[in-house]
């Protein structure tokens, strides 16, 4: 048993930290937040040149064929730096789903571009303010043509293709849609976190190619979201950690009543609670990383556990970071809200906390080994 990342993986972490500290300071995040660009193109170029987008793609498709543990390491650092790039859509969602279920021709067509970053992919499921389910998906495919509206789609405005969950007769399947198809229109959306981009995708008889087994749409989405949840949980933990560090630094330098506010017990205990939430989430992420990298049978339970605890940790750390800063924390000028915004966006991107908690308990019910686990 060994619950640490390897020396090589830690070396990768150091490289990633060094790179992101110089190429992705919070000014970069803020520039995307305040500007019109969908993402920071220079940072994205740097990331693709470092080969991060190629991490889990096999060499046969232009990737470097590392494992998911390496990707977890990168995710944590991208989350820490709030990197304003379409990495998660292209890598945790589009690349993952292709690796899971694409046929050979589809892999040949898309993976090399995803690996070198010349292609951005995404995944479209939501149709507005409701939890997507078998009862309410309205996007339809007939005769390889897709029609309907997906909203919001992360990075939908900049993606070259999207995998789309749609109704396919009386079943649901996944489809590959080239977003350059004339039947696709995109509308950029305002969101809680403008340092990332979201779009509405309208399909009007656009070309659609079946991905994976017909009728397996929800099963594949669930399996994909389990995997993605673990990667996103590392991002969440990275962001939570950065929020805690920011709160700590401020508490040590801000004086009130003749002493640093960090010496007041109410502040100390607040930061201790942030640290506790962060540590529990981090450890659950380790478990998730292991489950992901070994395709363990308890992957779904590990994913839901990592997801729920990382979502709660980032929420706690980002909101209490604002509180620790007092009035300054509530200003646009201070960076506290960057974390607070990202925390909420990440908390919703794969479905709500309530849904993940429900899913977690379903997994517990299904694992009948419970009595003997410790």
């Amino acid at each position: 048993m060994n619950f640490e990342f390897s020396d090589d993986q830690n070396l990768l972490r150091e490289q990633a930290q060094g790179f992101l500290q110089s190429k992705c300071p919070l000014e970069t995040v803020r520039a995307v937040l305040e500007g019109d660009q969908a993402y920071d193109t220079a940072l994205w170029k740097g990331i693709t040149e470092m080969g991060w987008t190629a991490t889990t793609i096999p060499e046969a498709y232009g990737g470097i064929g590392l494992g998911h543990l390496e990707l977890c390491v990168l995710a944590e650092e991208l989350g820490r730096s709030l990197a304003p790039v379409p990495f998660s859509s292209s890598v945790y969602l589009a690349t993952e789903v292709l690796l899971m279920c694409a046929n050979e021709a589809q892999k040949q067509a898309w993976l090399p571009g995803l690996a070198d970053g010349s292609i951005i992919g995404t995944f479209a499921i939501a149709e507005g303010g409701k939890a997507p389910s078998r009862h309410n998906i309205e996007t339809r495919v007939a005769d390889d043509r897709i029609s309907g509206c997906k909203i919001p789609v992360p990075d939908g405005d900049v993606a070259d293709f999207s995998v789309v969950l749609a109704c396919d007769g009386d079943q649901h399947s996944l489809f590959l849609v080239d977003l350059k198809d004339p039947g696709v229109t995109k509308r950029v959306l305002k969101s809680i976190d403008p340092s990332r981009s979201y779009a509405e995708l309208n399909f009007d008889s656009a070309g659609a190619e079946l991905l994976g087994e017909a009728g397996a749409g929800f099963a594949l989405t669930d399996a994909l979201f389990d995997r993605a949840a673990i990667l996103f949980a590392f991002e969440q933990v990275g962001g939570a950690h950065a929020s805690l560090e920011m709160a700590k630094a401020y508490a040590l330098e801000r004086y009130a009543f003749g002493r640093p506010i960090a010496s007041f017990q109410a502040i100390k205990h607040k930061l201790a609670d942030m640290y506790i939430a962060l540590t529990l989430a981090h450890s659950n992420c380790y478990y998730g990383a292991w489950a992901l990298s070994t395709d363990a049978s308890e992957l779904s339970l590990a994913a839901a556990t990592a997801r729920v605890s990382a979502t709660e940790a980032f929420h706690e750390c980002s909101k209490e970071n604002i509180q620790t800063h007092g009035g300054m924390g509530f200003t646009w000028e201070f960076n506290c809200h960057l974390y607070y915004r990202r925390a909420k966006a990440l908390a919703l991107n794969l479905g709500s906390l309530t849904r993940w908690k429900d899913k977690l308990v379903t997994q517990l019910e299904e694992s009948n080994k419970l009595a003997n686990t410790n």
């Binding site: 640490e4 010496s263 502040i267 993940w356």
Partner: protein
């Protein structure tokens, strides 16, 4: 990263499991039995003896002192396996977890050979005589007096909250030998026979009605200087060794946990449906599962660090803070699920009620929630200490409760 056993670890685990299955009942298959404390102690002594005879006592201690010289990983594997069985280990937690390691660090070779093997085999139970009426969180405020007299020390004063003192044979004791020194100086540490003349043990009744901790009065108790641990005036340093081990010994609060709650929720109904189908119930279970799982894997990470030669750090305080509060809230919620029936003590599920009545003590014993948060804030996050009024003056000038 590899959560699986190596072949050696797997072999060790199956050896442990074979011993346990042959000699104990799984928690999931055991029935709660009503028994007196005396009956419980008989069972506990027998279990410890059996473990010692088969090489399963005090795994991390050196073999010459009754241990097995196991690796930290083997110790954790044993803990995982033993934890699945209903076994009476409570009376030994303090002695083997805290007193033993303190003796290993500070006693003479001869003393170790004399005391440790019979501690490991369960023949002698030890207790920890630290807290006093005016010294709990602020342990260094203790006043029990030690005065040198020839080859002996003469002890006068009072200890309180001493768990298991009424059935303990020996104990470790920290005293004040010089009140004119600074508060954390002038302390001296001993171990003693609880049957020494002048030691009087008076059980204290707890909120549950049981009496597991005691007041101890010392009247001219003589302790040979040879039973001093550490130098005169260095008792604080020795206490820290004990407290460091306490962090490992008092980890998880135990008691009914998520699996128990799941079983209860599956068999209790809310309006004709299993409580487990209720969204509010599921939400609670998910939250507690995340804490439980987070603690489990935090512990695994700590163990990984230990096996690379690290020491248990203050990070471990998390385990007690989180698990004690979880124990309390989870028990309370389980009783709530039983609706009005939850009031009854006769109910078959009264393990939740016991847990509900025990949890408040767990949030206090071995460092309160608040003290542990201070430790995390100061030692892990590096935040400043509280402003202190007791550091710069001799102990006998420190302000005290009236």
């Amino acid at each position: 990263m590899d959560f699986n056993d190596t072949p050696e670890q797997a072999a060790f685990r199956s050896e442990a499991r074979a011993f346990l299955s042959a000699n104990a009942t799984l928690k999931s298959e055991s029935v709660v039995q009503q028994e007196t404390e005396a009956e419980y102690l008989v069972r506990a002594r027998a279990w410890q003896k059996l473990k010692a005879e088969n090489g399963w006592a005090c795994l991390n201690w050196p073999t010459e002192y009754g241990g097995r010289a196991s690796t930290p990983m083997e110790r954790i594997i044993w803990g995982q396996e033993e934890g699945k069985f209903e076994v009476p280990t409570g009376p030994y937690a303090i002695g083997l977890g805290m007193c033993g390691p303190t003796m290993i660090a500070y006693a003479s070779e001869e003393q170790k050979r004399e005391h440790l093997p019979i501690m490991a085999s369960g023949e002698r139970i030890w207790c920890q005589l630290f807290s006093e009426p005016s010294a709990g969180s602020d342990l260094a405020n203790l006043r029990t007096k030690a005065v040198r007299d020839g080859d002996d020390w003469v002890i006068n004063g009072q200890k309180i909250w001493t768990s298991g003192a009424h059935y303990s044979d020996w104990g470790i004791l920290v005293t004040r030998s010089d009140p004119t020194q600074l508060k954390h100086k002038g302390l001296t540490f001993f171990f003693l026979d609880m049957k020494s003349p002048g030691v009087e043990v008076k059980p204290i009744k707890q909120i549950s009605g049981a009496s597991n901790f005691n007041e101890i009065y010392f009247t001219d108790v003589r302790i040979p200087d040879a039973q001093r641990l550490g130098a005169v005036g260095e008792g604080w340093k020795v206490s820290i060794t004990t407290l460091m081990n306490e962090r490992l010994a008092v980890g998880n609060a135990g008691g009914p946990d998520v699996p128990d709650l799941l079983r209860l929720a599956a068999t209790t109904d809310i309006d004709g449906e299993p409580a487990l189908n209720n969204a509010a119930v599921r939400e609670k279970i998910a939250t507690w599962h995340c804490q439980r799982s987070g603690l489990k894997y935090t512990n695994y990470r700590t163990i990984s660090a230990l096996s690379r030669g690290g020491v248990p750090g203050p990070e471990n305080s998390i385990t007690k803070v989180v698990s004690a509060a979880k124990q309390q809230d989870l028990a309370s919620f389980a009783m709530d699920l039983m609706d009005m029936g939850g009031i009854l003590r006769e109910d078959v599920e009264d393990k939740f009620l016991n847990s509900y009545m025990g949890a408040p003590g767990y949030r206090i014993a071995g460092g309160t929630d608040e003290i542990l948060r201070n430790i995390i804030a100061e030692r892990v996050l590096g935040l400043p200490q509280d402003i202190r009024l007791d550091k710069q003056v001799p102990f006998n000038e420190v302000p005290q409760s009236s």
